[in-house]
């Protein structure tokens, strides 16, 4: 099959959605600037015009609120936030408004908006340009939250998000932009709420999100060489998440490691661990391990960044620990 990078797959999803559906439009800061978006939105403004590809002022709250208003009245907007940190200025329209309207008004009004946030960390950017606060949003009823890890899913989940009648937070990771993979040509959906088994194994279940799914794939190779047979699940959606798949895998392996490149306290990994313990406690043969970021803001200095971020190495360590 044809190979595309993750960033190009995101671009293709946008282009095909804009071409196929006149209700779709894109608004946000830096939509035509590679410094913000990499190649993930390259030249969409030239192809579809500035009325539908709107590079906005620095007004996260108003652009997100406006997208919600447009969604309520018949459009299918995609709002772009080049860093998740900036999106926090739009916490009100996302958490108080978009998430609530269906319930508040007994399903008579819907908010089919896609809010795209990029995680873009490292590079000595520091605490306010590095945050991965997916758990904050996954906490809120009424929002769906997806985090693709492959080019295939980056495209398919964006399409599914736009087709969904609910507000969907679509989180992509700048560290994955150059990853290449198979991407089908046409419009296709990856169902929201379904995880993918990337490798079957019998010893340990490893559940990973987004960038950590890519790191986990490396870890699994290293572990295989040591004779450890890991089942790797790429979660893909963190709200709703694929409980059945995780439970059945843990039911088989009896051991669980969860990797999410966000803070440990109150994170997605905690939610999964609590659910597994609550639902299939007797299947567990060992304590659950989490591979997350330390509970500190992202430091700037390269030395501290090295100590702060987690990857394949920490995953290997955690898997070995639950097998002890």
């Amino acid at each position: 099959m044809r190979q595309l990078t993750y960033a190009k797959a995101i671009r293709e999803a946008h282009a095909q959605l804009l071409a196929a559906d006149p209700r779709v439009f894109l608004i946000g800061q830096g939509v035509r600037n590679p410094w913000y978006a990499g190649t993930s939105l390259q030249d969409l403004d030239k192809e579809f015009g500035k009325d539908r590809v709107i590079d906005s002022p620095v007004s996260e709250n108003a652009t997100t609120g406006a997208a919600i208003g447009a969604a309520i009245t018949g459009m299918r907007p995609i709002v772009f936030h080049p860093r998740m940190d900036f999106m926090l200025l739009a916490a009100d329209p996302i958490m108080n408004q978009a998430a609530n309207w269906s319930y508040l008004f007994a399903g008579q009004v819907s908010v089919p908006v896609v809010i795209r946030a990029v995680i873009n960390r490292g590079g000595e950017q520091g605490a306010q340009h590095s945050q991965a606060v997916q758990a904050l949003f996954a906490h809120v009823p009424g929002l769906k939250v997806v985090m693709p890890a492959t080019p295939h899913d980056a495209k398919g989940l964006l399409i599914a998000a736009v087709q969904d009648g609910n507000p969907v937070l679509y989180i992509d990771d700048r560290w994955l932009y150059e990853v290449e993979g198979d991407v089908p040509d046409g419009l296709y959906e990856v169902p929201i709420g379904s995880a993918a088994i990337r490798r079957s194994g019998k010893d340990v279940t490893l559940v990973a999100t987004s960038y950590m799914a890519a790191e986990a794939a490396k870890a699994v190779e290293m572990l295989a060489q040591r004779g450890i047979d890991v089942e790797l699940i790429d979660l893909r959606s963190i709200k709703p998440w694929d409980r059945n798949l995780v439970y059945s895998s843990v039911g088989k392996t009896g051991r669980l490691v969860i990797a999410d490149a966000a803070w440990m306290s109150g994170g997605i990994a905690a939610e999964i661990a609590a659910s597994v313990v609550g639902e299939i406690f007797h299947a567990l043969k060992a304590p659950i391990a989490r591979v997350c970021l330390p509970d500190a803001p992202a430091p700037t200095s390269f030395v501290l960044e090295q100590a702060y971020y987690v990857g394949a190495e920490q995953i290997v360590f955690a898997v070995e620990k639950v097998l002890l």
Partner: protein
């Protein structure tokens, strides 16, 4: 001071090009008259609040040059001990309680510092430095209203360089009228040539006098231009055809050259300028040496400072 900022930032730009500095650096070359002129009207116990482009604010308010260079290098001797980098500068004793890159974030904090001064009964003044891009955010409008409503001792300094990253002012608002926000919210607004350090200084003196005496807040819209790109030392010429022409035009209005002409006309000898420049270059070279030789932060301190002690600082 303008020259100190210029020489410092030219050095930072060169070190970014040489890959010796990795943290994103937003240079204010071409805009130096604003921090220099404004801070000259302030006392040490007045506070200034800045953003991503704040090397000039930090130096002009009395921040230590070595500590900023070391911070940009990510060293333990930096003003934030390597936790912040170029976009997070701090020097509490000089009234710099932190500069942060989230656009407009510190505008309401300056209002809060002014409220604090009022409640504590001091006559301190707070200054918010921010760009034209920051006026796109609600923070700006809400803050102006609060400051006017409670008659707070704050000076809002908008450094209007006509760009927010790649977008020109024209692409972000219908009118070139930032200053009009002041009148709408009931405070005083002044537009001035941000490349003329004397005008900036005079306007700052008046705004600070008003704030200190209880006559209320002022918005100063200082019109200027950044010579370098949004981030890093390159010129960002790819943002549009206009940029080349504007850049040439504004470079002819170099705030430092203008000031030098003014002083020469008043009889200051060129030897004196040369001496000054040589001193500054030596100071900046020393700072680079200091930063290079300084140790990096210790990994074991990764989790330090997430909280301060229960008693605060």
């Amino acid at each position: 001071m303008m020259l100190r900022i210029r020489v410092f930032e030219e050095m930072v730009g060169a070190l970014v090009t040489a890959n010796e500095i990795r943290t994103p650096c937003h240079l204010s070359i071409g805009q130096e008259a604003i921090p220099a002129g404004i801070c000259a009207a302030l006392r040490q116990d007045d506070s200034v609040w800045g953003g991503h482009r704040s090397h000039g604010h930090y130096l002009a308010k009395g921040g230590d040059l070595n500590a900023m260079m070391a911070e940009i290098f990510g060293k333990a001797t930096g003003c934030a001990q390597g936790r912040g980098g170029s976009m997070h500068l701090v020097a509490p004793a000089q009234g710099i309680f932190g500069t942060v890159p989230l656009v407009a974030a510190t505008i309401p904090m300056a209002v809060g510092a002014a409220l604090s001064a009022k409640l504590r009964g001091t006559d301190q003044v707070a200054v918010a430095f921010f760009g034209d891009g920051a006026t796109d955010e609600g923070h700006f409008h809400e803050s102006l209203n609060l400051a006017a409503l409670y008659n707070l001792p704050v000076v809002f300094v908008c450094e209007n360089n006509f760009y927010s990253t790649h977008l020109t002012l024209k692409e972000r608002r219908v009118k070139d009228n930032i200053v009009e926000s002041a009148a709408l919210h009931g405070l005083k607004g002044v537009v001035l040539d941000g490349n003329d350090v004397t005008s900036v200084y005079q306007a700052a003196q008046e705004a600070v006098r008003r704030a200190r005496s209880g006559a209320g807040p002022t918005l100063l819209e200082c019109r200027t231009y950044r010579w370098r790109g949004h981030v890093g030392p390159a010129a960002d010429l790819e943002v549009g055809e206009e940029r080349r022409r504007e850049l040439d035009e504004w470079q002819r209005r170099d705030p430092i050259a203008q000031c030098r002409e003014l002083l020469s006309a008043r009889g200051v000898s060129s030897d004196l300028f040369d001496c000054l420049e040589a001193d500054i270059r030596a100071e900046v070279d020393d700072a680079v040496r200091f930063a290079r030789q300084s140790p990096g932060p210790d990994e074991s301190e990764l989790l330090h400072h997430v909280y301060v002690s229960r008693r605060g600082v």
